[in-house]
Each structure stands twice: as structure tokens, then as C-alpha cells.
Symmetry: C2
Subunit: 298 residues, 2 copies
């Protein structure tokens, strides 16, 4: 579905497809016990950019030209991403009242229900992935379940969050910053690309190239995020500008300055596009996505 579209249209198309499919996959908000299904839906449909689904679908297209096989996996990745936001916002973690301009899950449903809604979304992601299996593809499905679990667990996303919490009182340090980002956000970004590619039938060489693409993209994503926090517009990014600095969090601009950080983001985007050399036109959306990251304002 990528060919000939510009990246913004592509992203909004994938976003719409993902949301439509998530409505079908998730338990109905009218089914008992309603409140947990409402709490799950509240955060899943809270206006996320669907960045991980876009990556998953575009990576599937890059190797096979057809992303239909990856849609349910894209939805599962979004459930995992959403659960991590719900739990990160909890009073026992970052204690945030707002996300994307809306009240956080626990502010609406209470703390206990928000913990359970996050748990349920994580669990449901694995149910969605397992339900993708049939007689022919079960080994592939097991493989994407391994990818998703590893990227989300203590060796991935959770590990990054743990180190982020532990580092709050420490002096900013590049090695720590890289560990946090490559685990907290990078691991699931890489898994999104890898899962899409596996479902598209990627061979080992393609999977390796796409992993390099995803790692560089994840780095660029984080640096631009840090930059936007410094120069961005409060309304656009939905949290107080400079909030990271106020909390004395290590960021790229804090460690390297604004201009050097911009160059680092550009270098990472260049490296991500270079990793796609062995792919033809089918990888155009992945290329456009990397360039889009540099120009985004939110």
C-alpha cells in the first residue's frame, strides 16, 4: 500500500487501519466487566501516532510488498506500547496527570483499575499474536512472540524504565542515556520493524539490515524528542516545555548542546537510510519515515 503515497498519507492510512482493527480485536466496552474494557479502550484510543504499527507495516512491505499479514501484529505492538504508557504514568512511577492533553488512565479509572488495564493490554497483546497462528505459520508466530516478549521485558523496555528510575538522582552520563533509550523505547521500535519483516518473510540478511535501520531510527527518534522538549511548543507536544530539564534528566541537548544534537539526529537518519541499500522501492516508506522524523514538530 506504500507505493506512490507521501509519508503523511501513509501514516494516516496505517493509523486508521490499525484503529479500525483494534476496535475489532479488543473486547467490547459493553461486555462484562465493562470498566476494564473501557479503561483499556480509553488509553488505546487516546490519539497515539501509531508509530510502531507504521514501522511494522512498512517493514513488512519492504520485504514482500504487502503489509496485510502484519496488521494484527501491529495492533499487538500498539497494545504493548499503550500498556507501558499507562503503567509509566501511575503515581508509583512518573505520577503524571495528563498525557497527550487527556487525563491519564488512573486519573479517570483509579489506580487499581489502571494497573489492571495495563496488565490486561500486555496480556491481550500476546493473545492477539498467538491468535495469528494457523497450520502453516506457527513457527513464525512463535518467533514474533519471542521478539515481542524480549523487547518488552526486563532485557528491553522494562530494563530501560528501571534504569531511568534509578538514574534520576545521578549526574547526566552518555552511557546511561544510551542504555535507557535503546532499551526503554529502542527495543520495541526495533521489534516492530523485525516483527513486520519476519511476517513478510525476511531472510537473515534482510532482517539484519532492517535491525540496523531500526536502531538508528530509534536513536534519531529519541534525539529529536529531546530537542523538541527544549525548543518545542508546549501545546504541540502536550507537556510543559523544558520538563525534562527541570527534572534534571539527562538529554542529548543537555549533554551535547542543541546544534550538535541536531547533527547527531541527522547522522542517525542518514545511517538508517544507508542500511536500506539492499532494498528497492518497497522500502521507500521506511526511508521517508526516517526523513519525516527530522522534520516533525511533535
Amino acid at each position: 500500500m506504500g507505493t506512490g503515497k507521501d509519508i503523511k498519507t501513509y501514516m494516516s492510512d496505517v493509523s486508521a487501519m490499525t484503529e479500525m482493527r483494534l476496535r475489532e480485536l479488543l473486547p467490547s466496552e459493553n461486555s462484562y466487566p465493562e470498566v476494564i474494557h473501557e479503561a483499556m479502550a480509553y488509553s488505546v484510543f487516546a490519539g497515539g501516532k501509531r508509530f510502531r504499527p507504521v514501522l511494522c507495516m512498512a517493514a513488512c512491505e519492504a520485504v514482500c510488498g504487502n503489509s496485510a499479514a502484519a496488521l494484527d501484529a501491529a495492533c499487538a505492538l500498539e497494545c504493548i506500547h499503550t500498556y507501558s504508557l499507562v503503567h509509566d504514568d501511575l503515581p508509583g512511577m512518573d505520577n503524571d496527570d495528563y498525557r497527550r492533553g487527556k487525563l491519564t488512565n488512573h486519573k479517570v479509572f483509579g489506580e487499581g483499575m489502571a494497573i489492571l488495564a495495563g496488565d490486561a493490554l500486555l496480556t491481550y497483546a500476546f493473545e492477539i499474536l498467538a491468535n495469528m497462528a494457523d497450520e502453516k505459520n506457527s513457527l513464525q508466530i512463535v518467533q514474533i512472540i519471542q521478539e515481542a516478549a524480549k523487547a518488552s521485558g526486563e532485557a528491553g523496555m522494562i530494563g530501560g524504565q528501571v534504569v531511568d528510575i534509578l538514574s534520576e538522582q545521578k549526574a547526566p552520563d552518555l552511557a546511561l542515556l544510551e542504555y535507557i533509550h535503546s532499551h526503554k523505547t529502542g527495543a520495541l521500535i526495533a521489534a516492530s520493524v523485525r516483527i513486520g519483516a519476519i511476517l513478510g518473510g525476511a531472510d537473515a540478511k534482510q532482517l539484519e539490515a532492517l535491525t540496523v535501520y531500526a536502531q538508528q531510527l530509534g536513536l534519531a527518534f529519541q534525539i529529536t524528542d529531546d530537542i523538541l522538549d527544549v525548543i518545542g511548543d508546549a501545546e504541540k507536544i502536550g507537556k510543559p516545555v523544558g520538563s525534562d530539564e527541570k527534572n534534571q534528566k539527562a538529554t542529548y541537548p543537555l549533554l551535547f548542546g542543541l546544534e550538535e544534537s541536531k547533527q547527531m539526529a541527522k547522522d542517525a537518519v542518514d545511517a538508517s537510510i544507508k542500511a536500506l541499500e539492499l532494498f528497492g522501492d518497497n522500502a521507500d516508506m521506511l526511508r521517508a519515515l526516517a526523513l519525516y522524523l527530522l522534520s516533525r514538530e511533535q
Copy 2:
């Protein structure tokens, strides 16, 4: 491994095997970031009875006579059970300071780390299950992942916890009590039996019979738990006796009285054993386990 052993020896053998294997499977407490691995291990090795592993192994034996194939799944089930206890104990849920006479996870590691340790154990359970796959058994592994996810999610264990929270201010009611228990504890107990049976190669008829066994066993387990809360010894069960009554929670003794509740537990155990009629000696441990439930003191 069951034949000829008494049930207490069998349970302690499975418990020892499960703990040994869990030590191998779980990330080392010395690996970075240590604190999350310590928090995971703290609750996994906090003296649980390993009831779900015992059920999983004994069900596998009932259909094939050999439980070796089910050991890793038994460990994954214990990780899921442990995560649910860690999250249930959180300040935003039941707010318990002690479990089995030890400080709860968040009292030792802090609330944020306890949330993450629970998340990590749930995620790791799916990684363990997926890692059991090889070229031949991947469809079976997908099936047990579906069983585990469904039993733990919003339609199972989490759904039961949700209704338990919602019912706290309501008058005791049998339908509600049955919903809570069949979901909050019954679903994972049934999944433990079913997963063991699937790994043992159960046919549809065997799986159906074992599901009935597990449902009746789960019911008996809950009724005896309620009875022990009334008549038990505080030291033995590790929480203040009568704590359920104090919190005005619906229990079987509250709804039916003590004698009637005892009879109900006995009837459920009889029904569970009756469901095993089509099995031979290989199901002896499942039978003994049901009888053991009636006589337990903790």
C-alpha cells in the same frame, strides 16, 4: 514420576524441580539492572506452594505418563501467578504489607519497582512459553500461549480481580462470588491443567474431562480457602484470621455457614475425581491432589 508416591512427596518433588528450573530460566540476580531481577526473584522464591506447577505436571502425566515436557510451562505458570500476587498487594490494589509472613514486593523494592517486577514476570512467562517451541511442536506451543493469555487476561484472572474490587461495597451474592473465584483463581488453575494436558498430547475427550476436573478442583480450593480463613490458625495461613470477614467480603461460610461450606467442598472434590474416570493409574496424583485439598491446613 507420579506412580507409587504419596501426594505430599509428589508435591514437594515438583516444587523442588520447579524452583531449580526457575533458577535456571529467570535472569540472574547479578545481571544488570540487578534490582529488577532481585525483585522478580524475591517474589518467585517467596515460599509458594507451587500448586499450579503441580497441577500442570500431574495433568501431563495423566495423559502420557511423563511430565518432563511440561516443566518449563509449569515455571511460566508460576511466573504468571507470582506477578498477579505482586500487583494485587500494591497500595493501589489490596495494599498488603505482608504475604506468607514476608514483606510484600513493594515494601522491599518500592512501588514503581514492584509494578515493573510484576510486568516483567508476566512478560517473561510468555518468553518462557515461546522458547519451548521447536520445528515440531510450534502449533502446540501457540495453543498453550493462547490458553495462558486467555486465562490471565480480562476474560480470566484480571476480570475476576476487577469484579472483586467492584464488589467490595456490595452485599454478598452467590453469582458474584462464583464469578470472582472462577475467574480470579479458577481460570489459571484450569489453564494449568489444560496446558499440562496439551503438552502431554491429550485428545479432545481427555482435555474436556480434565477441564471439568480442574473447574471442580478450583471450586473446592476456593471454598476450603474461605473455610481456613474462618477456622484457620493465623500463623499457619500467614494473614490475620477473619480478615475477609472484617473487610465484609463475600465468602462461602458467610453465605452458607461452615458445615454447608464443608459439604460443598467435599462435593466439588468428589465431582473432580469423578471427571477422571476415563483415566487409569496415571491420574492417581490428580486424584490424590483433590483429596489432599480437603485435608489441608494452609
